[in-house]
């Protein structure tokens, strides 16, 4: 969730920041919550995302911004800071996703056709492997190794 702010940090007291944060939080469910302020020096055209917590005020956000600006650009300015927008993410326990190979035919080391079926093949270059949606060229001096979750790992001989 995001909301436009366009205010200088000096105008954002604790209560105003808390209100902004709460308004976003009320729109979405989730156990783990985080807030960021899109922040820049007055006059700049690009922002840096600065994490903050409800309970902090604008000057605290400005300090976070200055630190991040120093890390990113190597300098800070004695200049007012403005918050362009605030953003909120709320996340919950995600379902576990497991990638696996899925196909119908067994691997054939002569035909070199991979339709996605489970296999643990290694193919030394120079070779051409036919994939479901592409053609994989294994150059001389390289080895292709089938990966359990799908796809191939290409490794150059040392």
């Amino acid at each position: 969730m995001a909301a436009s702010v366009m205010q200088r940090t000096g105008a954002l007291d604790v209560e105003r920041v808390r209100t902004l944060a709460a308004a976003l939080a009320a729109q979405v469910e989730g156990a783990v919550r985080a807030w960021t302020a899109r922040t820049r020096y007055v006059g700049q055209g690009y922002e840096l995302d600065v994490p903050f917590t409800p309970g902090e005020d604008g000057p605290a956000i400005a300090r976070h911004f200055a630190e991040r600006h120093r890390v990113r650009y190597g300098f800070v300015l004695e200049r007012e800071v403005e918050v362009v927008a605030v953003r909120h993410t709320a996340s919950a326990q995600a379902e576990v996703v497991r990638f696996a190979r899925h196909g119908v035919s067994a691997w054939n080391s002569q035909a070199l056709v991979d339709d996605g079926s489970p296999c643990d093949a290694e193919v030394a270059g120079e070779a051409v492997i036919t994939l479901p949606d592409a053609t994989l060229f294994v150059a001389n001096g390289w080895t292709a190794r089938a990966v359990a979750l799908g796809g191939w790992m290409l490794e150059r001989a040392p």
Binding site: Y41, G43, Q44, G45, Y46, Y73, G74, F75, L77, R79
Partner: protein
Amino acid sequence: MSGFDPLAIRVFASSVAMIAEEMGAVLTRGSLSPNIRERRDASCALFDPDGRMIAQAAHIPVHLGAMPEAVRAVRARGPRPGDVFLLNDPYHGGSHLPDLTMVEAIDEGGRTAGFAAVRAHHADVGGMSPGSMPFGATELVQEGLVLPPVRLVAGGVLDESLLALVLANVRTPDERRGDLAAQQSACRAGAAGWLALRAREGVAHVEAGASALLDYSERRAVARLRELGDIEAGAEDFLEGDGVTDALVPLRVRLRVRDGRLTLDFAGTSPRVRGNVNCPVAVARAAALFVLRSLLDDDVPTNDGIARPIEIVTPDDCLIAARWPSAVAAGNVETSQRITDLLFAALANAGVAAPAQGQGTMNNVTFGGAGWTFYETLGGGQGASAKGPGPSAVHVGMSNTRNTPIESLEQAYPLRVDEYSIRRGSGGRGREHGGEGVVRRYRVLERCTVTLLTERRVRAPRGSHGGGDGATGRNLLNGEPLPSKCRIEMKAGDVLTIETPGGGGYGAA
């Protein structure tokens, strides 16, 4: 070129090009003035330890051939590893004074591993007129603070007294401080990228790669010139006054291609003039590079190699090989455009397929009020060619900037844009139409000074192969015509209208 086949060169070229692009990203994201952060009136380049330009981000063509001069001027001052130099002197590596150039000698364990250079057009560097793009200047010192290459950072320490001196001589010191800090940051990004590449690939590999890359671009440029055959032709064009008088200022060239080498002899071009349309020869070199670059395929890497087959010959006293103390502010932006037109015309006269003339001006508009200055150039019509119509409302030739978004301009300055539109009917007619110019109408909210440095208000961009000419541009104050180059005082509520030229058409309609 051992070890570098065309594929390896391509990979290496992309590696260094991305370092230059990242420098540009850091600059625009960290800077304050709309002219740099929005219009991208800046260029970033990377040089090897010998001062050869390995890559330049494709930002501003007029900086293309001029940046190596800046690094050459810095190297002549004996930079120590890690030193950062600042300069803008057109006669010592600069182009015109608003272009402040920062050059860092990249420190690799106590030796200089290369140079990172960032040139950016600042909205004010002092002088007789807000915005430092003055009308009527006759000496360089009138145009702003002149900086020969000076050591801004020595031994990792910023020279605060030097910075204070610079900031004390400009009208908008806070904005300048921020933009200079962003330039330094961009240099650091270039240095970090270059050092990382050398660490990852090995110094020997990278240095060999740099040589192979330059040789490759040279081979591509020479091959293209050889395709043109042995050709020779002349051309003539004019500037509409030098900013002091309205007398036409002639530019002439004899273009010759022999065995893959391009010679441009500017005999017959005007001597230096009193006004500020003079330019250092680096600007002429940039125009020549731009024209040759435009003849090459898109995939040719942009670096010093392209310049190798070009020879420029100028008379001793020449408009485009100016010497101190000539004023040059408009030369970089307007004379450079005319040189470009001239060279394309010479190519066309030699039978090479060249487009019709584009708007041929950058339409330089500079505002300055109490505590603020704003500079921008405006797009117009590009010339049509045998391949198709000319695009409308684009920066043409030596300018490759974007426009200033109205929201950004109005947020930052006491200005309102009442109209920003395509200037319908301004493009030349023809089998292929020339691009249309734009109409930009500013209303000022408080008293301010405005300087206009424009061209093609009298002599229209010409069509080609029977195509019609583009419309000349117009400058208006409250509906009344203004000269092409002028300085005016505006009060709250006054309206300035700039109608930019259209491009020439191609072929009979």
